[in-house]
Structures are given as structure tokens and as C-alpha cells.
């Protein structure tokens, strides 16, 4: 959270700076299968976020001593491009924030990927933030979920993530960067829509128990929309192929 000294008014006349209602997502666009070499990939735009996710594998673990003979291991690397933020030039290489985010995203996917099907293998997930505007770990996870599915990796569920938090005393969904910087609480959550179990949850700021419950309501409410967009992106991969060959005949 940035200093509160020059905090802008984030809610004016019951609306947010970008005109959204408190429970409104930014516009989301997802495209699957955008990278040729990857086994699965997806590109997401959520507001001004532009994020690529790619999946390689399952493939043999290297170095070999990291292999687990009972199941596959997941490796996850979240990183922000040096040019992705408005302020400053990000240094290359993983920083402490990126290492923590990579860890919690990996743990969320370990819950749904059927790891036992691929002993001694690894599945690599790469999330590259090309342009960041708040909520990148959540949008990156949503994209990575589509990338895994497009790689044909068996999963129990197509998971999604979005953040909710607090501005003043209002509980609000899907912060952009300005809201993120000056919010009173921020809480990214990943959900398995099949049973609404929580797979990733981080929070800092100030929330009462009631506000926490409200925030989870907003996340699960928005999840129906996000899930539908994820599935449409996967269907579109095949619809594209279908259109291509229909036109030829």
C-alpha cells in the first residue's frame, strides 16, 4: 500500500474512477493457443492487464533428482516484464514478490492437476505480465488455467482467481492499479468452481469478518462470468479450426 498522504478519491458518486460498480469486473478477454511452441497457452486482457501464460509438459524432470516417482511436479514462474509497469523499470530476475506469487499459484494448481497420472514428470507453467494494472496474479492464474486445459493436461476443475478488497468501508471487486495502491484491504482468491473451495487466498490491510464474507461473495459471484469466458476461449480454439476447414470445402 502506498502512502496515504496524497490518496485520490477512489469512489465518486457511488461509482469507481473507471465508472464501475463495486461488484463489477473489468472487461475480460481470453484467447487460448496463442503460442506455437508451448504445449498450451493463453493470453488474457483484464482491464489494462495484458498477460501471457504458457504450459510445457508433462515432460521428464530435469535435474533428475527433483523427480517424484509417485506423481508429476509443477514448476511455476510468475514474472513481470521490465517494461510492464508505469513507474520505473523492473529489474530482471525473480524478486521476492515474484517468488512468493509463483509459490502460491503453483500450490493452487497442485490441487486440481491430476499429478498421479504423470510420475517422474514435470509440468511447467510460465506467467508473463506484459502490462500490469493491478490484480496480475489473479488474472495470470485465470489464464494459466486455460493454458493447462489447452495443453490437454487432465484437471479436476478449471479454476479462476480474482481479487476483492476494501475502499473506505466499501467492499469492492477486481481492483485496478490505482485502487490497489490506495485500497484499505486487498485479497486475491482462487476458487475451484465445481465446489467453491478456496485454493489461493492472500490478504493484507484491514477487514472485519463480515467484510471478508462479503468479499468472498463478490468473488464467487464474479466467478460464474470468468468461468464462462475461460470455457468460451477453449471452445474457440476448435471453432476456429472448424471454420477454417468448412470454408475450404
Amino acid at each position: 500500500m502506498a502512502s496515504k498522504a496524497n490518496k485520490p478519491e477512489l469512489i465518486v458518486g457511488g461509482k469507481r474512477l473507471d465508472g464501475r460498480a463495486f461488484d463489477e469486473l473489468r472487461p475480460i478477454k481470453i484467447e487460448a493457443g496463442v503460442l506455437k511452441n508451448a504445449d498450451g497457452s493463453a493470453y488474457i486482457e483484464q482491464g489494462n492487464n495484458k498477460i501471457l501464460a504458457a504450459v510445457y509438459g508433462p515432460k521428464e524432470v530435469f535435474p533428475k533428482h527433483d523427480a517424484d516417482p509417485t506423481k508429476a511436479i509443477i514448476r511455476c514462474k510468475y514474472s513481470m516484464a521490465p517494461f510492464s509497469s508505469l513507474e520505473g523499470h523492473g529489474r530482471s530476475g525473480p524478486n521476492r514478490r515474484a517468488i512468493e506469487i509463483s509459490k502460491v499459484i503453483r500450490e493452487a494448481f497442485e490441487n486440481v492437476v491430476l499429478l498421479e497420472e504423470f510420475p517422474n514428470n514435470e509440468i511447467d507453467i510460465f506467467i508473463e505480465i506484459l502490462q500490469g494494472d493491478g490484480g496480475t496474479r489473479a488474472a495470470g492464474l485465470t489464464a494459466a488455467s486455460v493454458a493447462l486445459a489447452s495443453a490437454g493436461i487432465p484437471m479436476k476443475d478449471l479454476i479462476y482467481a480474482v481479487s476483492a478488497g476494501k475502499i473506505g468501508e466499501e467492499v469492492v471487486l477486481d481492483f485496478n492499479m490505482i485502487e490497489d495502491n490506495y485500497s484499505d484491504a486487498d485479497m486475491p482468491i482462487a476458487i475451484a468452481p465445481r465446489n467453491n473451495e478456496v485454493l489461493l487466498l492472500q490478504m493484507d490491510g484491514s477487514l472485519t469478518k463480515q467484510q471478508f464474507e462479503k468479499a468472498v461473495d463478490l468473488v464467487i459471484g464474479a466467478g460464474k462470468k470468468i468461468s464462462a469466458i475461460q470455457k468460451d476461449a477453449l471452445r474457440e480454439v476448435y471453432a476456429k479450426i472448424e471454420r477454417k476447414y468448412e470454408n475450404k470445402e
Binding site: 500500500m1 502506498a2 502512502s3 498522504a5 527433483d66 523427480a67 517424484d68 516417482p69 511436479i73 521476492r96 514478490r97 517468488i99 512468493e100 509463483s102 509459490k103 502460491v104 500450490e107 493452487a108 497442485e110 490441487n111 484491504a185 485479497m187 475451484a192 465446489n195 467453491n196 473451495e197 478456496v198 485454493l199 489461493l200 487466498l201 492472500q202 490478504m203 493484507d204 490491510g205 484491514s206 477487514l207 472485519t208 469478518k209 471478508f212 464474507e213 468472498v216
Partner: protein, 263 residues
């Protein structure tokens, strides 16, 4: 990262999982109790503040060093807080030397977030003159690992901050041998960590319980509001389980705060 378990860990995991399914624990505690907590402050005289916390067999030392630095550009009128954690190889056969593991980075960042979000340190009081402020370096040293580094780490961190005194400053220089005033604190945050084993939620997991756990949840509160949360491991929580954990965390705050305030 521990991927393959050795035989002893495997047997122990199986044992605590069986116990958990019967709502029992290896040390006979009930699900909502902490192990014995002991806090010793001020053991390291060269540090501006220090505390050693024993939580059962887990031992964490926290040290506070104050360094005179320029404030950050975007916050020119306050001092900095920098939290690090070292999972020392002498603390467990599972810890290895080398660059910080994701686990140690997560621990430091989660403790940092709670202290920062609860505005525990009066960072404004650390400015000594324009362009000069004390930075608070808070280092968590894990000396013996038997589970629950989040709660023991937070207890040690808050206790060391309570113990800390600000060095003197005269003629534009820090005088480290003289300490003038206690570090000004505005709030106390406590950390409450549960693991989930099967369908059972256990507070303050031991090392064996942590190795056997499906999921972990940490709630940091100041007794009034939630200040930070972190879910860990690959298992999941239902909404109801998280609500229950939050309720329990609020219930434990006074007990934990008493240990921090003491001495």
C-alpha cells in the same frame, strides 16, 4: 522444496493423519490449543531489540537492527521496515544452505504484511531530519524447526519490536552505543495458523503435522480486524472452514498479545 519423504517422515505423517481423523494429536493437545509459549526478550545486547520465542520445540530468534538511511522516494517522511527470515540449516535436516527458499521468503513477507497492515510501528517517528530516517531491519532466525514458523515468527518479531530502543542521533550522526527512547509502536498484531489434515483443523501444527497437512491457513489480527491472511500448501478450504478459523484467530489474540507484552 521437499518432494520425496524419507521413511521416518512417511511413517510419522501416516500416524498424525490417523490421529487427526480421530480428532487427536501426537502430543495430546486438543485441536484449538497452542503448545507452551516462552518469550525471552533482550538476549542480544548488540541488537537494538531482540527476542527468542519457544513454541513447543520450535525456536525462533528475532533481532532488530536500526540503520540510518535515506527514506524511500515515494515515502520521504517515514522510516523503512525490512523483514527477512532465515531457515538455518542447523534448525532442521530439511533446511539447506543457499539462496533463500520460497518458504523463507513467504514467511518473511507474511510476517511483514501483518506488521505493516496493522501499522504496528510508528514509521513517522523514525524520521530524524529531512532525508534521514531509521530503517528497522527485522531478521527472523529459525534455530529449531518443529512446525508453525508463522506464529512463532510473528511472536518473536513483535516481541523484538517491543524490546527495541532507538539509538541516539547527534551532529548528523548515529550514536549506536547510546539508546534514547523505545521504538514507538501503535498496535500489536498476532498470527494464528491452522493446518487441515483430512477434514480436521488443527491450531499450531507441529513439524510432523505440517509435513502431513493438506492445507494451511494463517490469519493475522490486531484483535479488532483481520490484518493479513495467507493460505498455503496444495489442499483447499471451504468458506465455512475459513470462517471458523477467522473466529478462532480473534479468540486467540489476547492470549498471544499477553506473551508479546510481557517482560
Amino acid at each position: 522444496m521437499m518432494i520425496q519423504m524419507n521413511a521416518i517422515d512417511y511413517v510419522n505423517s501416516k500416524y498424525v493423519r490417523e490421529l487427526a481423523s480421530k480428532k487427536m494429536r501426537e502430543d495430546g493437545r486438543d485441536a484449538l490449543s497452542y503448545r507452551e509459549i516462552r518469550v525471552a526478550k533482550g538476549l542480544i545486547k548488540n541488537a537494538e531489540g531482540s527476542a527468542q520465542v519457544d513454541l513447543g520445540a520450535t525456536r525462533v530468534m528475532a533481532g532488530v537492527k536500526m540503520v540510518l538511511e535515506s527514506p524511500m522516494e515515494d515515502t520521504p517522511d517515514v522510516g523503512n521496515l525490512i523483514v527477512s527470515a532465515e531457515l538455518l540449516p542447523l534448525a532442521s535436516p530439511d533446511f539447506e544452505s543457499g539462496p533463500p527458499s520460497p518458504e523463507s521468503i513467504e514467511l518473511a513477507r507474511v510476517v511483514d504484511r501483518g506488521i505493516r497492515a496493522a501499522e504496528c510501528i510508528d514509521l513517522g517517528s523514525l524520521l530524524v531530519e529531512e532525508g534521514k530516517a531509521w530503517s528497522v531491519y527485522l531478521d527472523l532466525y529459525i534455530l529449531n524447526y518443529d512446525g508453525n514458523l508463522f506464529d512463532s515468527g510473528m511472536l518473536a518479531a513483535m516481541s523484538a519490536l517491543k524490546d527495541a530502543k532507538v539509538p541516539a542521533y547527534s551532529n548528523g550522526k548515529a550514536v549506536m552505543s547510546e539508546r534514547v527512547a523505545p521504538l514507538k509502536l501503535n498496535n500489536v498484531v498476532s498470527s494464528c495458523t491452522f493446518v487441515k489434515i483430512g477434514d480436521t483443523l488443527l491450531l499450531d501444527p507441529t513439524g510432523n503435522e505440517e509435513r502431513a497437512a493438506d492445507a494451511r491457513m494463517t490469519i493475522e489480527t490486531d484483535g479488532k480486524v483481520i490484518r493479513a491472511m495467507q493460505k498455503g500448501l496444495s489442499g483447499s478450504f471451504s468458506r465455512q472452514e475459513i470462517s471458523d478459523i477467522i473466529g478462532a484467530a480473534f479468540g486467540k489474540h489476547d492470549e498471544l498479545k499477553a506473551h508479546i507484552d510481557k517482560g
